[in-house]
Each structure stands twice: as structure tokens, then as C-alpha cells.
């Protein structure tokens, strides 16, 4: 499994209810079901990926994450995961609020736009950065936002969304290996991973740290 998913998996309490938005073929949900006995649900817009996930025996809705998340009642899940998708969603504020309505905690991971290699490409070549984490040309990219780790922190503060946990990682060229970056993460990490609690005003239960 990908290293970022390993980090996310390590945060999930055994036996909890988990919603994975953009679950692809369900590798994280499969892992969490097998290793932690969670009750998992996925949402995936791609028919082939959703079909493969359901064929594995997972509970998955083939559909758009904005539309699908709206149908779940409040507190339906312990965790709602948005992995490597934030940079593609049209309205991150709305989505994160919905995540923290249906889930007690939210997990968000995204490629760190201001990683040093991206900065070099912009600075020395003057080009829109293309990397393993953001492998698209400007004209075919599904990514509509650029998200540096520091900007995401500020975004959470503006929304009054508490950051319960935060890890920055750098992955190797083998996806399943990586390391945690503690020194200058906004410069040296390829991904940021955040565990978010409910906005202070709408918190119903204390969140654990």
C-alpha cells in the first residue's frame, strides 16, 4: 500500500466507521477492513475503479463525492478520508464542512505544491511544475488548486477547524516507502496529511489528540 495511506491507516482506531471519498479501487478500505476491522464505505466517480472495489466485496457508491456525501446523516462515520483529491475539488470549504458533519474526524492528504523540486522548476525553468506527485501538463491536469502545506494550515484556521494531527512525508520512487519530514516540511515534504476535528462551534464531542 502507498506510504501516505499507511500513515492514514495508522491513525484509524480499530472497529470505527470510515468513509473514503475518492476511494479508487479500495486498497485503503480493504487494508483497514482486514487489519482493523473497520466498517468501510467508499465513494468513487470512475466506473471501472468503483466496480473493482465493489467486486472486492467493499461497500462503494459510484458517484460524485459532493452529491454522495450530502445523503449521509450527521455523525454517520468516525472518519471521513479525502486522500490526494483536495487539489481537484471545486469547493474545498464546502466539502470539508460536509466531511466534518457526517464524520467526527476528517483526514485530508494532498501533494505539497511548494516542494523544493516544484520551486526549482518554476524558478530556474520558469515552467509550471511537473512532478511524480503532480504529473500533469497545464492543459490536461485535473488539479484546479495548488495547495502548499502552510496555506492549508491557514485555511483550517480560517474555518476554525482544529488540526488534531499533522504529518508531512516524502515518498520514494517506490510508492510504498517514504519518510516523515519534520524539518521544513513546506519545502521538503511531497505530501501533507492532516487529521481534522470539528470546528469549535460545532464540536459535539471532545476529539482525542
Amino acid at each position: 500500500m502507498r506510504f501516505d495511506l499507511q500513515v492514514i491507516a495508522s491513525w484509524i482506531e480499530p472497529g470505527s466507521k470510515v468513509l473514503d471519498l475518492g476511494c479508487r479501487t479500495g486498497s485503503l478500505l480493504t487494508h483497514l477492513t482486514r487489519e482493523k476491522g473497520i466498517k468501510g464505505t467508499g465513494v468513487e466517480i470512475d466506473e471501472r475503479a468503483a466496480g473493482e472495489a465493489i467486486a472486492k466485496g467493499l461497500t462503494v457508491i459510484h458517484g460524485d463525492i459532493y452529491e454522495e456525501i450530502e445523503d449521509y446523516p450527521d455523525d454517520a462515520f468516525d472518519y471521513v478520508i479525502l486522500s490526494r483529491t483536495l487539489q481537484q475539488v471545486a469547493d474545498p470549504t464546502r466539502l470539508i464542512r460536509e466531511m466534518l458533519r457526517v464524520g467526527r474526524l476528517g483526514v485530508v492528504s494532498f501533494p505539497n505544491f511548494t516542494h523544493i523540486r516544484n520551486r526549482f522548476q518554476m524558478f530556474f525553468q520558469g515552467r509550471a511544475p511537473i512532478s511524480r506527485e503532480l504529473p500533469y501538463e497545464w492543459h490536461n491536469s485535473p488539479n484546479i488548486h495548488v495547495v502548499p502545506i502552510v496555506d492549508f494550515r491557514r485555511f483550517c484556521r480560517d474555518l476554525s477547524v482544529p488540526i488534531v494531527r499533522e504529518v508531512a512525508i516524502s515518498t520514494h520512487h517506490h510508492d510504498d516507502k517514504g519518510r516523515i519530514i519534520t524539518f521544513l516540511p513546506n519545502l521538503l515534504a511531497t505530501f501533507g496529511i492532516f487529521l481534522l476535528g470539528r470546528p469549535q462551534s460545532q464540536a459535539r464531542r471532545p476529539v482525542f489528540a
Binding site: 477492513t33 466506473e47 466496480g51 467486486a55 466485496g57 461497500t59 457508491i61 458517484g63 445523503d71
Partner: protein, 392 residues
């Protein structure tokens, strides 16, 4: 549709059986208020019922289907049952693991009690004196059959189209008796458009003078009306794209237009052929009753006081809902509506809209995606039940 002859291993020979109840009172009190007795269901089974009777899967057929889901009656039958692709040893509905039941609906004409059956009051076929039946009535009869077979809880109920309506009715009416429900290409209620097509089909039958208000079993049958009804139905099962691919404007056995009312175009010839083939196997009165039952089906009104969310609040099943992109008879939005109501009730539901150009018929055609979905979903339902851990 073209037969794909590579169907894989078959369950082999199957036998049509009959189960009758209500021949000594205790028939079925129908939704219309009348009582139907006696009631006979034609049914077939394949696979072995496990010692704890927990591996039974009920397959519900569509509008004009029958109990012959899989296998052959005789070794020299040209074709197997209608869902042989899906039901058999090693197939998604795996008869090596599951005990599969399929029965003909009441109101039908393939062995179960319907307008063609003898009316005990007159000794003659019911004809139009047969009571109007509902999807609920059909399902309550199936429940009697399941009781008769000594099965308390069904591992799964699966069906497409009108069969899918029966699946939904089962899961909501008997919440404790259905572990997994698989409604395919179906709806919780007919749209005005679907009712409209059914009404045109019914009018075609009733406009045929030979229909004679349903009393034709001693004379000639309303074959022309029934054929036209089937032609209308067939159009709704296809799609613009599939008709373009299959026929476009190609001419049938001619190079030029005939300038008369022969079947110039291939599509006309195809519909005439389908219509004429249908009258050999189907009863016109049954067609009236079954289309009416489909039109009357309204899950939210019957079980939720008009609220679909309330209707599903009774259900405890896990669901696999499947729709097809080009199905305009029961479009995807209708499947999404039921999925939404299931989610609001916290039910375990999976949904997939399969890209397929073939229209409503797609659920009966070869489709690897559909087969993989059914296999994986049933495997997990079975694994969870047998305590063999999860199906990963």
C-alpha cells in the same frame, strides 16, 4: 438479442415443479381486496440447500420471464434458461455454493396461477375475471413458496426490471428474511413515461377484436394485438444508439423502398419478428395484468406513506443497486433516488452505473462488470454469514 453461445458450464438438467396453496381455504387475500384460491406457483431450483438452510438465493424474473432461470429441461433444448449466463456452477450466482430458486409470478402464464388458469367458480379460464394483482401480491406468494421450502432467511434476492421491483418489495416487506438485495435496472415506481408505454401496449391488445374482453380461450387469440404490444415493449428495452448500431436505416431484403406497407426497414422486420415470436409463448391477458402490476408498484406509497426514506427505514438488508447509462425506461436517476433513501437510513448500499449502450435490456446481456459486481457482493454476503471472515 444475439445469443452468445459461450455460456460456460451449466447446471444441467432442471425440472419445473409446482407448489399449490389455498386449495382448502387459506388462499391469498390480494391487495385489491379479493381472495385468490387456489394459488399455484411454478418454480425451479438448482444447487443444494445447505444443512442450516442459509444459502438460498431467490431470483425474480422480469415482466415476461418465467421460472426457467438456468439449465435445460431436456438435453436437446436449443437454449438454456434466461439467466444461464449468471446462474450456474462457478458463475456469479454460483450453484456450487448457493441454492437458487426462481418462480413464475402470479398473473403470469408460465405455470403459475394467472388469467389463463381455471377459475374454480366457473370451471373455465379466468380471463378478465382474474383479479388485478400487485408486485406485493407476487412477493407474498413467493414468501409462501420460501416457507414451503423450509427457508427462513434468504441469503439474497436478485432480479432486474420488474424482477428488481420484487427484490425491493421483498427487502422492505420482509426485512428480517433478506440478507442481501440486488435490484438491477429498476425503479421504486414507474414514471409517467413508463406507464404511458404500457398503456399503449395494453390498448393494442384490447383494440384487437379477438381480445373479446379477455374471453378468447375457446376462440382465436388476439395475436396481432399482443404482437404490437410486444413491439412497443421492445422499443423501450433498446436505445437510440443500439438501434442505430443494429439497424440504422438499412433495408430488409430489398435494395429500394417498396412504396407500400411491407417491412421496408430492418428495424420494422425485427420488431415484427419479435412480436410474432412472442405470441407463441405468451398470453395476452397475462400481459395486461403484469404491466398493470408494474404500473401500480409504488414502494414509498405502499410502505412509507409517500416517503421513500420512511419505506426503507423498515429494511435491514444490504444492497447492491445497478443501473445502466442508456436505460431510458428506468433511468439512473431512479436508482440514485433509492440509493439516497437507503443511505439516509444508514443501510449498507453499493451502487454502480454501468456504461452500456444497449438500453434497458443491458441487464440480461453479457457484461463482465455486472458479473464481477454480483460475484463479489454475493461472496461477501456469504462469507459474512458463514463467519469465514471477510471476502478479501
Amino acid at each position: 438479442m444475439e445469443a452468445n453461445l459461450d455460456l460456460g458450464p451449466s447446471v444441467g438438467q432442471v425440472e419445473k415443479r409446482y407448489f399449490t396453496f389455498g386449495d382448502e381455504g387459506g388462499g391469498l387475500k390480494l391487495d385489491c381486496g379479493r381472495e385468490l384460491a387456489p394459488v399455484t406457483l411454478a418454480y425451479e431450483t438448482c444447487g443444494e440447500l445447505s444443512a442450516d438452510r442459509s444459502n438460498a438465493i431467490l431470483v425474480c424474473h422480469a415482466l415476461t420471464g418465467d421460472s426457467h432461470a438456468a439449465g435445460y429441461y431436456h438435453p436437446d433444448d436449443p437454449k438454456p434458461g434466461w439467466w444461464d449466463r449468471m446462474v450456474g456452477p462457478g458463475k456469479p450466482v454460483d450453484t456450487n455454493k448457493y441454492f437458487v430458486i426462481c418462480s413464475n409470478v402470479i398473473g403470469g402464464c408460465m405455470g403459475s396461477t394467472g388469467p389463463m388458469s381455471e377459475n374454480p367458480a366457473t370451471g373455465k379460464p379466468y380471463g378478465a375475471a382474474f383479479p388485478v394483482v400487485t408486485i406485493g401480491d407476487m412477493v407474498r406468494c413467493q414468501r409462501r413458496l420460501v416457507d414451503h421450502l423450509g427457508i427462513d432467511t434468504l441469503l439474497a434476492v436478485v432480479g432486474g426490471s420488474v424482477g428488481g421491483m420484487q427484490v425491493l418489495e421483498w427487502a422492505v416487506r420482509y426485512p428480517g428474511r433478506v440478507r442481501a438485495a440486488i435490484p438491477l435496472a429498476t425503479t421504486t415506481k414507474h414514471s409517467a413515461q413508463a406507464i404511458a408505454f404500457n398503456e399503449v401496449a395494453r390498448q393494442a391488445i384490447m383494440a384487437d377484436p379477438k381480445w373479446n374482453h379477455g374471453d378468447y380461450y375457446d376462440a382465436g387469440r388476439p395475436e396481432h394485438g399482443l404482437a404490437v404490444a410486444r413491439m412497443v415493449g421492445h422499443i423501450t428495452y433498446l436505445s437510440d444508439e443500439s438501434m442505430r448500431q443494429k439497424f440504422d436505416r438499412r433495408l430488409q431484403d430489398r435494395c429500394e423502398l417498396s412504396f407500400d406497407f411491407e417491412a421496408d426497414f430492418q428495424v420494422e422486420s425485427y420488431l415484427r419478428y419479435q412480436g410474432n415470436k412472442f405470441v407463441d409463448r405468451f398470453d395476452a391477458n397475462s400481459f395486461l395484468y403484469l404491466t398493470k402490476a408494474a404500473d401500480y408498484f409504488n414502494l414509498e406509497n405502499r410502505h412509507g406513506d409517500g416517503s421513500l426514506v420512511a419505506a426503507f427505514s423498515r429494511s435491514k438488508s444490504r444492497y447492491l443497486v445497478v443501473s445502466f447509462t442508456s436505460d431510458w425506461l428506468y433511468p439512473t436517476y431512479q436508482s440514485r433516488t433509492m440509493v439516497k433513501a437507503m443511505k439516509k437510513n444508514g443501510l449498507d448500499v453499493s451502487f454502480c452505473e454501468i456504461e452500456a449502450p444497449w438500453g434497458h435490456d443491458a441487464f440480461l446481456l453479457p457484461n463482465e462488470r455486472l458479473e464481477a459486481l454480483l460475484r463479489g457482493f454475493l461472496d461477501r454476503a456469504h462469507a459474512d454469514l458463514t463467519g469465514g471472515g471477510h471476502a478479501f
